[in-house]
């Protein structure tokens, strides 16, 4: 009998893994792009661009601005789950460029409280090279659960 009591006590001590789920505002996947520049000494540095305007190219829909003439060092951009390609136009009023992203996507269950979200796998990335000097992929997996320090693409100006 004492073995059984011992066994049951040990079992109850083992951790149970119920978690409290906190949901994001929405279940879209956002790509975090960080603006970079190559300094005179050849080192890579963060850069703040002023007067930045960004919008996505939406087929058959009017343009709608994601960012409107603001100073920023990074942009958080929603990817298009209905297409394999997402295109963003970046402009600071003087220069302009387009970033073209090719991706695959799927839905996945975040958890039972928050429901389903989008998850992307970035396959190709390029730009018109009118203004942007280089693109550097940091993380190709982009999902609806965004960590605070997550960065997916570095854009060099």
């Amino acid at each position: 009998m004492k073995y059984v009591v011992l066994l049951l006590t040990l079992l109850l001590l083992l951790p149970s893994c119920a978690t409290q789920d906190v949901c994001d505002d929405d279940n879209q996947a956002y790509m975090v792009t960080k603006f970079k520049t190559i300094e005179d000494d050849g080192l890579i540095g963060d850069t703040i661009l002023s007067g930045m305007t960004i919008y996505g190219i939406r087929e058959g829909k009017a343009d709608s601005l994601l960012y409107d003439s603001i100073s920023m060092s990074k942009a958080v951009l929603p990817l298009d789950p209905n297409n394999d390609i997402t295109r963003f136009v970046l402009s600071n009023g003087i220069s302009m460029d387009t970033v073209i992203l090719t991706h695959s996507s799927e839905v996945y269950l975040i958890n039972y409280t928050c429901g389903f979200g989008s998850r992307f796998s970035l396959e190709q990335y390029t730009s018109a090279w009118d203004w942007i000097l280089e693109l550097e992929l940091r993380e190709g997996k982009i999902d609806a659960e965004l960590d605070t320090d997550e960065e997916h693409l570095w854009i060099y100006f």
């Binding site: 009998m1 073995y3 059984v4 066994l7 049951l8 079992l11 083992l14 951790p15 149970s16 893994c17 119920a18 929405d26 279940n27 879209q28 996505g56 939406r58 709608s64 994601l66 929603p78 990817l79 298009d80 789950p81 209905n82 799927e106 839905v107 996945y108 269950l109 958890n111 039972y112 429901g115 389903f116 979200g117 989008s118 609806a144």
Partner: protein
Amino acid sequence: MRSISGYIFSGLLLLCLLPSVYGQDTLRTYGPRIGINLAPFVGFFTDPQVLGAEASLDFELFPNLYPVFELGYSSMADSIDEVSYHSGGGYARLGIDYNFLDLKDRSQHHAITAGFRYGSSIFSHRAENITVESDYWGDYFIDSYENTLNGHWIELVGGITAEVAKNFFIGWSVRYKILLNPDMDPQMVPLLIPGYGDGSLNRVFGFSYSVLYKIPIIKK
């Protein structure tokens, strides 16, 4: 370390020699024992409803050592916001129970047991009307997502079995279950793994409450 065949041989030897060695005047009944687990019927009253049935088969192959086979089915349906979800399938568990209760009277078959199980379930789950909202690009919608899966887990089991009438038993057990492949579906974690429980938890507790009948075959 002794070999398994050594254990089997000594086990068989014990089985043959015990009555003569100790000169017991009481006989123990051996035979396959069939049980119905009534615990799954509790699921009928839970929200969401989990429908299921489970039967077991065990046999005192060596003194106080009971190999156990359990077979069952369960299913559930629920809705997550607008998404309707369904999961269901069969499962089997194989394991062994050891009886700690040392009764002087060999004709009594009450038992306090500890043991383990290996469990496996083949099941399918499905979600319908999945929408991911996007104000900017437009909502993304798919009709359904479905996947057939194979779950594996192990259980540590503690239980008590009482012989309430000749060859009739009631028994209950508490089970601590450890899921071996929690990433079986990276796209949709199963809300129900039949025989295990909530697939989003890597460790769960379970219990069983069974009525059993032993078919008396051998008395020795």
